[in-house]
Every structure is written in structure tokens, then in C-alpha cells.
């Protein structure tokens, strides 16, 4: 076992985990932060997407030990003082979710995209979210929400 220091959403946590623990397990089992979803566990579905130093990664294929000293952002960090952020509100407004299981991953992938490219075209949005599968709504509402967020951000 190893003691890992993880900086999640600006807060430093210590977690004891196997040396080769995955970031997904360290977050969910180690820290009880279950906003990050366990999906396919083969890096296909993107339900476990988090940001590592600002870039989107699938936490099911990231060694937690590699995250020491890096900034981890999860869906729990999006809302501020109990208020959903702009992107989250737009997901609601555009009906960008049905069962909601893919939503944390979608939000984090979209957050990474908008940070890198505040005014993405629809094609760029599709590429930015190509690692995130939704199996119930289809993607139209999700793309609309992200486009609306891009327009709103000016």
C-alpha cells in the first residue's frame, strides 16, 4: 500500500491505496467522491472523465500515483456554494441528460474543451466529446448546451 496525496478540486486529500491503484478507485473508494462514475473501465465510455492539470482523462486508465502534485478536477468541484455553474444549468435547460450516468463525464470533457477552446464549432465539440458515450438521450441536447455555454461566455 502507498499513501497518496491528491489535490482534488483545490483541496488536499491523503488516501491509502495499492501502489498501482487507479485514479477512479482512489476517488470513489478512497475518498468517497462518487460523482465520478464507474462505467466500462476500458477507456471507452468516458463516464469517469476528470481533469488532470486541466486536460480531460479517463480516470479508469490513470495511475493515482501519477497524480501526486497535479491538480485533479471532478464534477463535485463545478458547483460553487451550492449553485450549479453555467454549463450545468445549460445542461438542465437543454435537456442534455436522461438517466444522468454519463453527465459528470460529459460535463468534465466539455469543461476541458471550453477551457482550451472557448468558442468551439459543432465539429470541434464532437471531437472534444468523442471519448464520452451517452446511451439514452442522444447527443443533440448535450451539444446544444455546450454551444450555448460557448456563446454565453463571450
Amino acid at each position: 500500500m502507498a499513501k497518496l496525496k491528491l489535490l482534488v478540486n483545490g483541496e488536499l486529500h491523503e488516501v491509502e491505496a495499492p501502489e498501482t491503484a487507479l485514479l477512479l478507485d482512489a476517488l470513489r473508494e478512497g475518498l468517497g467522491m462518487t460523482g465520478t462514475k464507474r462505467g466500462c473501465e476500458t477507456s471507452h465510455c468516458g463516464a469517469c472523465t476528470v481533469l488532470l492539470d486541466g486536460i480531460a482523462v479517463h480516470s479508469c486508465v490513470v495511475l493515482a500515483a501519477r497524480c501526486d502534485g497535479k491538480q485533479i478536477a471532478t464534477v463535485e468541484g463545478l458547483a460553487q456554494d451550492g449553485e450549479l455553474n453555467g454549463l450545468q444549468r445549460l445542461f438542465l435547460k437543454h435537456g442534455a441528460l436522461q438517466c444522468g450516468y454519463c453527465t459528470p463525464g460529459m460535463l468534465m470533457a466539455a469543461t476541458a474543451l471550453l477551457r482550451r477552446n472557448p468558442k468551439p464549432t459543432l465539429e470541434e465539440i464532437k471531437v472534444g466529446l468523442d471519448g464520452n458515450l451517452c446511451r439514452c438521450t442522444g447527443y443533440t441536447g448535450i451539444f446544444e448546451a455546450i454551444q450555448a455555454c460557448a456563446v454565453g461566455s463571450k
Partner: protein, 294 residues
């Protein structure tokens, strides 16, 4: 028993650990395939040898005779590098077609080659670019042409005490153009078939090939060059008939496998289609699904 994680501070330290543990110490690059295999118990290492701390392996060096790429360079690095776009655009094109954004953010060129999974996108492009790899061990360094690197499904020339450190691509001939075209059910999948071409046209109409290289992926136990198809077109006018005939030859050079994604027969047919499309894209006419620069 719990798997140990080594995070070496230098390549020398990593090579030492690799020499001590041999195949029990598995180098981990981006981890995008390896960690899935580990979870599914397809591999059983005693140690993961983490190459991430070795910053010297994540760099791109333009050189007089080409470009040298550190093994830990990610697909994202390749896509965003002006040097790669200039020296070997089809490598950037192939890297952009790997998996999904999250995978391209962490997956590496070295990991992609060492994993040697059928349908990987970089091998056909790197074969057409005449790339070679640098393998390091405590005993020394050897350079292996990519044509000799791939040895079987998931098998490569990397010995138990070696680590792939760099990928070297020679400067393209003047005027070279090229394309990488992939066929898959969904874009983020591995290629059912992938074809890369590098072509040096002679500037006539119809174009003749001064030099032509064709790399095939996903259609044989190992990625390969379609040498007979290349020979059939080299120095010849690239007429529709000549290209069609060469595409048939390329299909006969592959030994496709059947799997849940595709039958062997379908893969063979797709090679014919993709060789034609890749050549058309390289020349700049016809059906375009790539771009015109190698």
C-alpha cells in the same frame, strides 16, 4: 501479490530496474491500453516501471536528417507540434485518428508501438515514413527499422532488458505527399484496416511515382509494408487501372484475421478500397479523406 510501482528518476535507473527484473517489470507509458489489460488480468507483472517521470523521453527534436521523437510523446503532442506537421504530416494525421480525446491526451507513440495491437493507427504511417526505433538497455543502444520491429500479435523486438526510448523519422524526399486513411465502425475504434501512403510524384500528368511506400495496419498479424504493390507502381504512371491493379496486389500481401469487428474477407476488400483512396488523397484528386502532404 500486490504489484509494485517503480517511478525511476532517470533512464539509467529505469534500465537498471528493467535489467534486474526482466519481463517481470513492465514499462508503462501512457497506460491507456496497459491498465485495461492489467484490470482484465491479461498480463501479470510483478512491477510496473513508470516511464512518466522521465521527461527526457517526452520531447520532439527536429534534426538535420529528420525528426526524433521521444517515446513518451503523446498523440496530443504529435497533433499539436508544428515540427511534426512540417516533417511528417501523415504522422499527425494518424495520431488525430487514435481513440478519443482522453486517450490522445495520455497515450504515447512509444506505448502504441510496443503494445502492437492490430489496428493501431501509428504503425502504418510510421512504416510509410521509413521510421526506426531506438532500443536502450544497460548493455547499450540499438536502432531497429520499424519493418523488423513488429514480430507478432502484441509482440515486438523489445528484449526483456530493453526500453524503447525514441522513434526516428528521416526527412521526406523533396515534394513528397501522402495520406493515412482508416476504416472503422466508429471513429474511436481500432482500425479494421488502415492504409498510409507516402508518394513522391514526378510532376507529370498523369502522375508517375518516383517513389512510393504503402503501410498497412489491422490486416495482418503485424503491420507491414505492401512491398509488391509498391514495386508494381514504382516508376509507373498512376492511372486508375494501375492503381486498381496495385490495390489488388496489396490485398494479396495481407494475411487478415477474422474477429468480432470484421471478417478476414471484408478486411481484404477494404485494403483495396483504402489503397485507392489513400493514393487519390495523396495525389490530391478523387475521393478525399486525407490530405495531400506526407
Amino acid at each position: 501479490m500486490e504489484i509494485k510501482l517503480f517511478r525511476p528518476h532517470s533512464l539509467e535507473e529505469a534500465l537498471s530496474q528493467r535489467a534486474d527484473y526482466g519481463r517481470d517489470a513492465l514499462p508503462i507509458a501512457g497506460g491507456q491500453s496497459l491498465l485495461v489489460m492489467l484490470r482484465n488480468k491479461l498480463i501479470d507483472p510483478k512491477v510496473l516501471l513508470d516511464l512518466e517521470p522521465l521527461g527526457e523521453l517526452r520531447d520532439l527534436q527536429p534534426r538535420a536528417d529528420g525528426i526524433s521523437i521521444g517515446a513518451m510523446t503523446t498523440f496530443f503532442d504529435l497533433i499539436s507540434s508544428a515540427d511534426v506537421h512540417k516533417a511528417s504530416p501523415i504522422l499527425a494525421e494518424a495520431a488525430a485518428k487514435v481513440g478519443s480525446t482522453a486517450i490522445r491526451n495520455l497515450g504515447t507513440i512509444g506505448g502504441n508501438l510496443c503494445h502492437n495491437e492490430p489496428g493501431a493507427d501509428l504503425p502504418p504511417a510510421l512504416l510509410a515514413l521509413n521510421a526506426s526505433v531506438e532500443l536502450r538497455s544497460r548493455k547499450g543502444t540499438r536502432k531497429v527499422p520499424l519493418t523488423e520491429f513488429f514480430q507478432g500479435y502484441f509482440e515486438t523486438a523489445v528484449e526483456a532488458d530493453e526500453i524503447l526510448s525514441r522513434v526516428d523519422i528521416p526527412t521526406l524526399p523533396q515534394g513528397a505527399c501522402g495520406a493515412y486513411i482508416k476504416h472503422s465502425i466508429s471513429p474511436e475504434d481500432l482500425a479494421i484496416a488502415g492504409v498510409a501512403v507516402v508518394l513522391v510524384p514526378d510532376g507529370k500528368n498523369p502522375v508517375s511515382a518516383r517513389e512510393l511506400r504503402i503501410g498497412l495496419g489491422g490486416v495482418s498479424p503485424v503491420p507491414l509494408r505492401a512491398l509488391k504493390a509498391e514495386a508494381a507502381l514504382n516508376g509507373r504512371a498512376l492511372t486508375d487501372d494501375a492503381i486498381r491493379a496495385a490495390a489488388e496486389i496489396a490485398a494479396s500481401e495481407a494475411e487478415p484475421m477474422s474477429d468480432p469487428h470484421s471478417s478476414a474477407d471484408y478486411r481484404r476488400k477494404m485494403i483495396k478500397v483504402l489503397v485507392r483512396r489513400a493514393l487519390a488523397a495523396a495525389i490530391g484528386g478523387g475521393e478525399r479523406n486525407g490530405h495531400g502532404k506526407a
